[in-house]
Amino acid sequence: MDYALESLIKIAIVLGVIITTVAYVVLAERKVSAYIQNRLGPNRVGPWGLLQPLADGLKFILKEDVIPNHVNKAIYLIAPAAILVPALMGFAVVPFGDTLMVVGREVQLIISDADIGVLYILAVSSLGVYGVVLGGWASNNKYALMGGVRASAQMISYELSLGLSLIGVLMIAESLKLSDVVNLQATGTVLGVLPAWFVFNQPIACLVFMVSVFAETNRLPFDLPEAEQELVAGYHAEYSSMKFAMFFMAEYAHMITASALIATLFFGGWHLPGVDPTDSSFALSVLKVLVFAVKTAFFLFVFIWVRWTVPRFRYDQVMRLGWKYLLPLALLNVLLTGLYLTLNR
């Protein structure tokens, strides 16, 4: 009973935080892009435009919801949910802190420390492609269809290198549990000076993983499925109002989960070098949560930064990069890690 209650509270908090973060990442995106482009960005609603997300949300809810006559209605209605829900579910196994003493209980700061955490994430994140494909197909619009086709090809291709890049990490961690992965990174060093983060242990894996999540989240330079100048809006061309907002939120929720994963898997999660990882005093626990949040925020910034800097790939170039470069690179990484582990046994 206690466990269920505790989980529910954690779910509620995490969900609330993510949804709020989604809103503010949108604002951050607009502010950062404005900064990059010598503009001001939103600054009318509240100080520094801080209330802009509220206004945007309100606008989306109040907009007329148009369902075109030519769509396949059932699938059309499912698609936005089918993309948003997996994007949010991914966070369930991400440890956003160590442990925290709350009213005499030691609470682990993770919704579910599942034994198959990494597998779960891969499984859930691949579900996201259904929303895109179904949305594109059900819209019964050529641009949307092509967006859907592009998205499915792209996401399935990059799913492979994404999964393979993690194998090296898992071989060292010998566990699929994300808390184990973080704990391992919090102890020991690499080459005596660097923290034992997997970015230093597994640089190739980190690179492949980061590129792949960009493709998985459909962010520039991999935003071909919605490529405004080519496909107008791609798979969500026919969606309006809150349904469009759900596609929109899904992209940002995906980004948050992806950033959290990069931080967790390769950058030590809540670990801060110089802080004793076994000390679980209240202040330190809070600090760890903050460290995790800062790392995640940094990678969110990287997502935004890249988007406003580079042009877009072409469809076949994305495929080539995925299959001819990232996949072999990920395989090579598995090979190298295996050799290293065998020789050091």
Partner: protein, 596 residues
């Protein structure tokens, strides 16, 4: 001179003996086609040959293939309806189809006028000799109803397919006739199906179907009014049919109903990215027609503004080109620079877009006192901005992948397709009208003409980027040399007197009155003139025919976008949708001058 032009439409052969013809090309034509060549005139440095239509194909073949002549580019095809021209007899041919030829090896121009009667309103098409004649001939058909025998795709191009009249004929009223009278009730269907009955056999073992994708006119990458119909095999383009005319505004017809100075305002709206170039190019044609010598200060100011316009135009091109390929940030960087240019235009002309700054015979007024500082401020900060964009794009792997070997057009094809400007230079042809047929004060200024190698989108990008730097050089030099003096010719019959003088001086009042009176002020003599200019997109020129009144008899706009865009289907065939967008950006089609 006036008589010569009037006679030009008559059928009797000219009385001049061949040896009196100075122009070698005209002489060669007269020798080879004594029966067809009816008249040769050489006025204002332009050679015009009037000929019969029957052997026009042979004439153009000779002009192209004869090594001495090698008129390898057919710069323009247009027509004139001589119905109400002074001296026109009812029994002489009503139309002249006008061919404007250019020889790259000899740097020479030649104008051919082939006579077409109303009863036998056809003429052989020359598309087999010059492919670039395709759209221009379609336009002549669209506007005058002259049919071109042997044209591969003779459909209306600017007017709707079910339009029933020929708007540039003199009997079509400028106000139009009302939609019900000119549009046939039946819908011609999908683009009139230009390739009906031409379905080729597809060797496709998979039996996959093709998809027809309608891109535009409302599409983010078409910037408003272009429409492409793409036949796709997956994402690969099998066939591309551009459909233009969505922004057709009848500018050429308007030219016949505005006085010469009024028409300056219309030219603003043609290439709306560099309106000053249109103003200046137009004024130069009329000035040649009237043999006016514009004061040097005006020429220098025009040159500076011309190059600033080039920068503004290229900035929009660069921004939207990058935007279409996904680099949004570049777009805002370049628009900041364009904004600075526009501030200068506003300072000088009082308007940002509708500049209308030139007058026939000079400029509307002198530049403000701080012009020099403002322009110097601009050119001082400009290189850094170009540098910044170059750092974002020029060596960017994705940018190179997206633009290299995309939309390739060879030098030979580019000439044959009648391309000009950066499109032609990107393919390696060193042709810049500022160097080859100098206008304004370009001969006095030192600058380089960048040339590409491969004729792909990337080379066109590099060419335009270098042009930005050269423009900056030109502006700096022209500012240094900017002389003092008047900015209008001293001819009181051409230029309005100062307002203050009009209020108190009898003489000025009379001049003022006469200049503005129909048929008294600005009335060029009978004749025709064409001044080619190097606008940001390529060769821009106004072919003006005067009938001695205050209104042009015919106003033909040879716009670079119209000519450059026709090779587009060939450039994108076999590429992917994304490439089509990239190539569209590099052609830099300006709908205003495309559809006119």
């Amino acid at each position: 001179m006036a008589e010569e032009s009037a006679e030009a439409i008559e059928t009797e052969p000219a009385e001049e003996a061949p040896e009196e013809i100075g122009d070698p090309a005209a002489r060669a034509l007269k020798d080879r086609f004594p029966d067809e060549v009816l008249e040769v005139s050489e006025t204002r440095g332009e050679t015009t040959v009037v000929c019969a239509k029957s052997r026009i194909r042979d004439i153009l073949t000779l002009l192209k293939d004869e090594p001495r002549l090698s008129f390898d580019r057919l710069s323009d095809v247009s027509a004139v309806d001589y119905t109400s021209y002074p001296g026109h007899e009812p029994d002489t041919p009503r139309f002249n189809v006008v061919y404007n030829l250019y020889s790259h090896p000899n740097n020479q121009r030649l104008r051919l006028r082939a006579q077409v009667t109303e009863d036998a309103c056809t003429i052989p098409s020359v598309t087999s000799i010059h492919r670039g004649a395709e759209w221009a001939e379609r336009e002549v058909f669209d506007m005058f109803g002259i049919r071109f025998d042997g044209h591969p795709d003779l459909r209306r191009i600017l007017m709707p397919l079910n339009f029933e009249h020929y708007p540039l004929r003199k009997d079509y009223p400028v106000r139009g006739m009302g939609e019900r009278d000119v549009i046939a009730p039946e819908d011609p269907g999908f683009l009139g199906n230009p390739y009906a009955g031409e379905e080729e056999e597809v060797d496709d073992p998979l039996g996959s179907e093709r998809m027809v994708l309608n891109l535009g006119p409302q599409h983010p990458a078409t910037h408003g009014t272009l429409r492409l119909t793409l036949e796709l095999d997956g994402e690969r383009i099998v066939r591309c049919i551009p459909d233009i005319g969505y922004l057709h505004t009848g500018f050429e017809k308007l030219g016949e109903h505005h006085t010469y100075n009024q028409y300056v305002t219309v030219t603003d709206r043609m290439n709306y990215l560099s309106p000053l170039c249109n103003n200046i190019a137009y004024s130069m044609s009329v000035e040649r027609l009237m043999d006016l010598e514009v004061p040097e200060r005006a020429l220098y100011i025009r040159t500076i503004l011309w190059e600033l316009s080039r920068i503004a135009d290229h900035m929009v091109w660069l921004g939207t080109h990058a935007l279409d390929i996904g680099a949004f940030t570049v777009f805002l960087y370049t628009f900041e620079q364009r904004e600075r240019c526009y501030n200068i235009f506003e300072l000088v002309t009082g308007a940002r877009l509708t500049t209308s700054y030139t007058r026939i015979g000079g400029l509307g007024w002198d530049v403000p006192d701080n012009f020099r500082e403002v322009v110097l401020d601009f050119v001082a900060q400009f290189p850094a901005a170009v540098e910044e964009v170059e750092r974002l794009l020029t060596r960017n792997r994705i940018w190179i992948d997206r633009t290299k070997d995309i939309g390739v057009i060879s030098a030979e094809d580019a000439i044959n397709w009648n391309m000009s400007g950066p499109m032609l230079r990107g393919s390696g042809v060193e042709y810049d009208i500022r160097k080859q047929e100098p206008f304004l004060v370009y001969p006095d200024l030192d600058f380089d003409v960048p040339v590409g190698k491969h004729g792909d989108t990337y080379d066109r990008y590099l060419v335009r980027m270098e042009e930005l730097r050269q423009s900056q050089r030109i502006i700096e030099q022209a500012l240094d040399k900017l002389p003092d003096g008047p900015v209008k010719v001293g001819d009181a019959k051409v230029i309005l007197p100062e307002k203050g003088e009009v209020d108190f001086g009898m003489e000025s009042l009379i001049h003022h009155f006469k200049v503005l009176m129909d048929g008294h002020g600005l009335t060029p003599e009978l004749g025709e003139a064409y001044v080619p200019t190097e606008s940001p997109n390529g060769e821009l020129g106004f072919y003006v025919v005067s009938d001695g009144t205050g209104y042009a008899y015919r106003m033909r706009v040879r716009s670079p976008s119209f000519m450059n865009y026709q090779a587009y289907p060939q450039m994108v065939n076999g590429h992917m949708i994304s490439d089509a967008i990239a190539v569209l950006g590099s052609v830099n089609v300006i709908a205003g001058e495309l559809d006119r």
